[in-house]
């Protein structure tokens, strides 16, 4: 723990249960529910509520395990914006979509409804699916694979899905997909070191309108800024890049951050807490077992008297080393729910899911 930083990460829950490496964590956007997926082929869900000991602290508890039925690692999970549907992408190349059998619409807790049921199995990828994600409206689902493709599915009533496009732009494995927080813009990162951006042409199909080059190795993870004007990427080249939207369909690299010694597997951009003039908090993690939290601030360019290269600056807010002991950390994610924007979850090679809170040092 670096004591000279303004904040620290306080461990508030340590959730065991996966028998093998945990690959990803995903917060339900509407309910107090957290999900994780693993090489053990299961998805686990955890609920949280204010603890009896104090108003600020939260108690997490395991509420269910979905065996999924996937024959290989469940690599990625994503909640629909409604919080009622969960998609899971597996190394068996399929994507499964899960809903609760008994949707009683109880908003109080995650543990009152019935069992999770697989409502659809999306088959299409030829090899391992590596990432899945819902668009902000919840009407589109994207998946990507080692087969170099990105698939866009339209979510239709009664758990029906229609493939709207198969994008074959990358020359290697596609590692991650991420939807813009408000517009129908999709980003994908790849083993070919590039990031591609796609939109729907109303008269034609989905197409790639921009390729962001600059990383010198695999792009492992992508996260849009909460307002959508920036895109952050993390890479095996040990850098984090921030790309700024300079025109409607043009993004430009404006900041490069360093702070990890091994591959940076995951990045998450949350709204943060405190000063509203900043652009939120960026959390990064990876093979070095560190979690870094950066505060991102935009400079008002017209106020600059000197020529400034970077319109953005990043200040390291908090850091934990060995956050999962000696193990790699594969995923980091900010809680998207109101009043919980200082909560962070991580998943590691030790099979653990951990929840952290950013607190002043």
């Amino acid at each position: 723990m670096d004591v000279d930083l303004p904040c620290r990460l306080e461990l508030i829950s340590d959730l065991p249960g996966h028998d093998e490496r945990a690959w990803q964590v995903a917060w339900n956007p509407t309910k107090p529910l957290l999900a994780s997926c693993s090489a053990d082929k299961s998805v686990r869900t955890y609920s949280y509520r204010p603890s009896d000991h104090g108003s600020k602290s939260l108690a997490f508890s395991h509420v269910g395990t979905i065996p999924t039925g996937h024959t290989k690692t469940v690599r990625s999970i994503a909640w629909a914006p409604s919080g009622k549907t969960l998609a899971a992408g597996s190394f068996d190349s399929n994507v499964s979509v899960w809903e609760r059998e008994d949707v009683s619409d109880s908003e109080d807790s995650g543990e009152t409804a019935g069992d999770w049921e697989c409502v659809t199995l999306l088959e299409g990828h030829e090899t391992e699916c590596k990432s899945v994600g819902y668009s902000s409206s919840g009407t589109l689902l994207a998946s990507c694979s080692r087969d170099k493709t990105v698939w866009i599915w339209e979510v239709q009533p009664d758990a029906d899905f229609e493939c709207m496009g198969v994008l074959m732009e990358h020359s290697q494995d596609v590692k991650c997909v991420a939807w813009h927080p408000s517009e129908e813009i999709l980003a994908s990162g790849s083993y070919d070191d590039t990031i591609k951006l796609y939109i729907d042409d109303p008269s034609e199909d989905w197409y790639c309108f921009s390729t962001l080059s600059g990383h010198k190795s695999t792009v492992w993870s992508l996260s849009w800024s909460p307002q959508g004007s920036y895109l952050a990427s993390s890479s095996d080249d040990l850098t984090i890049r921030i790309w700024k939207r300079v025109e409607e369909h043009k993004w430009k690299s404006v900041l490069e951050l360093r702070g990890h010694e091994r591959s940076i597997y995951s990045i998450s951009w949350g709204v943060g807490k405190g000063a509203s003039e900043n652009l939120g908090w960026l959390a990064t993690t990876g093979g070095d077992g560190k979690i870094n939290v950066w505060e991102i601030t935009a400079h008002k360019l017209f106020q600059e008297t000197q020529h400034t290269k970077d319109p953005l600056s990043a200040k390291l807010l908090a850091r934990v080393s060995g956050a999962h002991n000696v193990n790699d950390i594969n995923s980091v994610s900010w809680c998207p729910r109101l009043n919980h924007s200082d909560l962070l979850a991580t998943a590691g090679d030790d099979g653990l899911v951990k929840v952290w809170r950013v607190v002043p040092s």
Binding site: A39, R75, R146, V326
Partner: protein, 193 residues
């Protein structure tokens, strides 16, 4: 894999036996045995990672403990079978103690394909990675690469071998795993004599 032999007549070298009698020669476990384990896995001995030591000159500060780990790593990988020859990686000089670099909690294994177009390089690298992954305590981060200049697709091979997601997926592929297990059966060691 498709029956093509990438190097039909490799040079076979006599296995270099160190004066120290290895656990393999003593006919003991293929894996690190109980006698070795406590020294390697004891949490109390985990030393803070000194970044300069790891990312700078690996061998500049070789303590007796690091030398011992080098020996252990060498013993773990020397008898791995070549995928297309009845020889061990050591006999073909694909691996050698000189190509193993140890830092605190970090191991870099370099290997030399017998021919620059060797299509088996990723399988050899994967077998080295799996052997070390299964045998060493988790705190060791392992990097594997072909010797610079020894392979025409050096960067591609290195990238694949160090991509944990590709490695994880490869190990869920039954056919590949079977081939891999064959490579991990000792060759030229006590069991094949």
């Amino acid at each position: 894999m498709n029956g093509e032999i990438f190097n039909a007549n490799p040079t076979v070298y006599a296995s270099k036996r160190s004066a120290r009698k290895s656990k393999f020669e003593a006919g003991q476990s293929l894996w690190i045995d109980e006698q070795y384990q406590p020294e390697l896995s004891s949490e109390s001995e985990v030393e803070p990672i000194d970044e300069d030591e790891i990312f700078g000159g690996f061998q500049a500060f070789l303590t007796p403990k690091l030398i011992q780990i080098t020996h252990i790593v060498t013993d773990l990988i020397r008898f791995i079978a070549d995928p297309e020859h009845p020889n061990s990686l050591e006999e073909l000089r694909v691996v050698s103690a000189e190509q193993i670099k140890i830092g605190d909690n970090h191991i870099m294994v370099e290997f030399t394909p017998t021919v620059p177009h060797c299509g088996m390089s990723t399988l050899i690298g994967l077998s080295i990675r799996v052997r070390l992954m299964r045998s060493l305590p988790q705190r060791f981060k392992v990097d594997i690469r072909v010797k610079p200049g020894s392979h025409q697709s050096e960067l591609a091979v290195n990238k694949q071998l160090n991509d944990k997601e590709r490695v994880a997926a490869a190990l869920e592929n039954a056919a590949l795993l079977e081939t891999l297990e064959k490579c991990l059966e000792p060759v030229g060691g006590p069991n094949s004599l």
